[in-house]
Assembly symmetry: C2
Homo-oligomer: 351 residues x 2
Amino acid sequence: MTKETDLSITLPTPTSASGHIRLAHGGGGRLMHNLVQDIFAPHFGGKAIIEGHDSATVDIGTSRCAFTTDSYVVKPLFFPGGDIGTLAVNGTVNDLSMVGALPICLSVGFILEEGFPLETLDRIAACMASAAALAGVSLVTGDTKVVERGKGDGLFINTSGIGLVSENLEIGPKCVEPGDIILVNGDIARHGIAVMIAREALGFESNIESDTAPLVGPVQRLIKAGIDIHCMRDLTRGGLASATVEIAEASGVDILLDEASIPVRANVGAACELLGFDPIHVANEGRFIAFVAQQDAHAALELLRQEPSCGEAAIIGRVTDEGSGRVAMTSLVGGSRMVDMLSGEQLPRIC
Amino acid sequence: MTKETDLSITLPTPTSASGHIRLAHGGGGRLMHNLVQDIFAPHFGGKAIIEGHDSATVDIGTSRCAFTTDSYVVKPLFFPGGDIGTLAVNGTVNDLSMVGALPICLSVGFILEEGFPLETLDRIAACMASAAALAGVSLVTGDTKVVERGKGDGLFINTSGIGLVSENLEIGPKCVEPGDIILVNGDIARHGIAVMIAREALGFESNIESDTAPLVGPVQRLIKAGIDIHCMRDLTRGGLASATVEIAEASGVDILLDEASIPVRANVGAACELLGFDPIHVANEGRFIAFVAQQDAHAALELLRQEPSCGEAAIIGRVTDEGSGRVAMTSLVGGSRMVDMLSGEQLPRIC
């Protein structure tokens, strides 16, 4: 199950129907979407699952709560700019932020492999505590399980989170309209490349660091200023491409991105070229897109640029029309091309 | 991290201090408690973690919410009377119930190993949907991650849950008082023995089935009848022994159990004897103890016995005194003995 779904897509490809989980089922692309559609949606039928949203919105008593979960299996556990613990806090905080919620508290579940060093666990717990303090959330409850040597991979972390959603706030794919302007809060593709370089012995030096960061600040700044936000999505697995295609399909609109406007740092662009990746497919952990009403776009851009780590925020596209859920991109070299999710797996265990 | 903690206990034993995770760190006994004390409590400091409770209680807006998380790594995935999916729903529903909350919704996080059969995943999802319907909760949000072959063990499930706690309800170790009567909602030790027999080729036939069940019904019945409940705890990892010792230590009281009153079915008792287990250390997944005010004990017993699968509910002990957190048990053969948590691991991956 995943927080994004697409009920309009076709049946699994023959490979997927072959009947076993593949790495790409966890990759944020087509196979994962088919898994949700074919197995989880029929059984669970949750609103967030059906509507394709980062968090569920649930009334608990008199409060409107956002609720989300994510497991983290990133490899290696520590990488330039971050670690699995920081990622586990920021990722869940960000999923709450994407529905406009103010994140309040997180749970933490550890699955540890026998033999895992206690000192490393202690370091990761310290990183989680720092990340939680920075994001303004409390880690309030937890669980530990241990599996035998060879039945896990050091440590996996699940975090779930609860946020508070304002009564009058409605943010999601169904609110997207033709004319909406799409902003991104900074340069893309750093997290995926940083992890990739840390993991593989690629034989080149790099100072590329993950972009992992809590998105509470930028999102709350937009909300408090009264920006008319229609939809938001963080650019994690599947990157900018998956996020825009998911929203286009869930909203039934067509989207046009402008490649020249999408911020990619020179060293990240060079690494992508070397590795044969398109930056729009690479994972981020501190980046999101916001669909805002046309008249608020420039105000939103100015607000975002006031936030730490959002200095490169940019307007990168717009919703062109009611449509069939297609995403096109005017390319750097002229002309335009269609954007789709990856069907296979680019970088397993990126988060 | 775990939901039970004990800040009074001593430093890790030399074995634990040797610096690596052992299976017993996930076993619900002393080592797990030391892990929480030494690593998680200092960093996270959550109220539920410090106070030794099954769920955290958090104000979200104007609502008083219970919040809990558990990962499930039980082996095998299917066992007599249950499966990992049913367990993942009931276990989290039960942790919410133990603070008197009405469970509302759950999240589901899957960590799948490459090669896991889709058909098995579909069966488990169906079991989760049935269990959720029975417990009256919705599965509202989820996540899927996939790890490479050999880096997991088929599938692990995390569920987190939110419940609603009545404004005037205060249930927890700090409410326990001398004179409180301790009830259990039925016979103990079936879950652990059922899983053990399913897992190991023990060479004997058995019709012992797991007791896995949602505890919403019995708990809500007690609450609605106005029973003065001081504390509850479900008897999972570590069994009745860990649950009573945890509460005794967290409450600063002494407890006396009466072995003859603790319901154990004959075939379960025989299997325990054969395997060298004491039933009070064996895990359950549909059993809990309730500490109630003396004058309400018999009413509580009658109410419990009206619930399906609680026909064998019994009064099994009492809080004798303010004290130093000791649990004693008057034994079947006369005399009494001290009850403690296990320091090692009896049955790894029981839930």
